[in-house]
């Protein structure tokens, strides 16, 4: 196992390369999920404001 981790003396180059690959791709994969949840939350807030306004004055003036 330690022989495998040593990578023939190139561990300081091989493992950071793999770390960058995985960190960048994981961040890339998670980003749109966060964006999607935020958008839906904002949309729900907007719809809630709209229906509250309609309850206050049932005949909208604008």
């Amino acid at each position: 196992m330690s022989h495998f981790l040593a990578m023939g003396g190139y561990a300081a180059y091989v493992w950071p390369a793999y770390a960058v690959f995985f960190i960048v791709l994981i961040a890339d994969y998670l980003a749109p999920g966060i964006r999607r949840r935020r958008q839906l939350r904002e949309l729900r807030a907007r719809l809630a404001r709209q229906s509250a306004r309609q309850q206050r004055n049932p005949t909208p003036s604008s």
Binding site: F4, G8, F21, G33, R36, L43, R44
Partner: protein, 252 residues
């Protein structure tokens, strides 16, 4: 729309239908990407023998080369989608083009960083201004330019059209990156895997490389579909189908 385009393809271009289609396909693409990726890593890091010249340092190839292929492939997809978006004004093509850019930029960044980490022990330098490295850096700047231009406009669709134009113009860089090792005398080594003719690599190193290529392609599909879904929700936030999704998620 021309009538030679099959009806199902035409329907797939409609945002709510593509949203559902992408949602169904995305977990499968990611699952297969992880499966092939794990197999490729096992083959590349454990099963494949050390290189007779580069020792174990060459194992960076199993992520460096697939990332580099993806950086060019995604640019091609982005430019093609941009062309379709500009000519036929299809909203979905715009979204695909603009959401491909961050994924392509990510793969280009990975290519440059892993290449640097490979260059240091093999060439004795992190960076050199040779044709392959410089043209790949230009590719990163093109991606960043497309992303920046897209977000520079108040109106998203106007931004998408401007950025699509830049993406199409920038396609000239793709063959330059690919052929740079043949056209100029570079420090970077030539192509190891060739489509035409035999590859210059033994089978037990080649199959993990090709499997990783497949895994990164599948990953691109998964990532792109997630991004397109998020973008479609933002673009169509006034429509009924988005409202229904927002209400359905609240109940959960």
């Amino acid at each position: 729309m021309a009538n030679w385009i099959p009806l199902w393809l035409h329907k797939l271009g409609s945002p709510p239908i593509f949203y559902r289609f992408a949602g169904t396909l995305r977990p499968w693409a990611l699952g297969l990407a992880l499966l092939f990726g794990a197999a490729a890593l096992y083959g590349g890091l454990v099963l494949a023998p050390a290189d007779y010249q580069q020792g174990d340092a060459y194992r960076i190839i199993f992520i460096h080369v697939p990332s580099a292929w993806m950086s060019l492939f995604i640019y091609g997809v982005m430019a093609l989608a941009s062309f379709i978006a500009l000519v036929w004004r299809i909203k979905l093509a715009e979204v695909v083009a603009m959401e491909s850019a961050p994924i392509g930029a990510a793969f280009t960044f990975v290519t440059l960083v892993t290449g640097s980490l490979w260059g240091k022990p093999m060439w004795g330098t992190w960076w050199t201004w040779d044709a392959r490295l410089t043209s790949e850096l230009v590719l990163l700047f093109l991606y960043l330019g497309v992303i920046g231009l897209y977000h520079a406009f108040e109106d998203r669709r106007q931004g998408a059209r401007a950025a699509a134009f830049l993406a199409i113009v920038g396609i000239v860089n793709v063959p330059i990156v690919h052929f740079s090792v043949n056209w100029w005398n570079t420090l970077h080594q030539g192509s190891t895997v060739r489509i035409l003719g035999p590859s210059k690599m033994s089978g037990d190193m080649l199959w993990p490389l090709l499997t990783m290529m497949l895994a990164t392609k599948l990953y691109y599909i998964a990532s792109l579909f997630g991004r397109v879904r998020a973008d479609l929700l933002a673009l169509e936030s006034g429509k009924d189908w988005v409202r229904q999704i927002a209400e359905a998620e609240e109940r959960r």
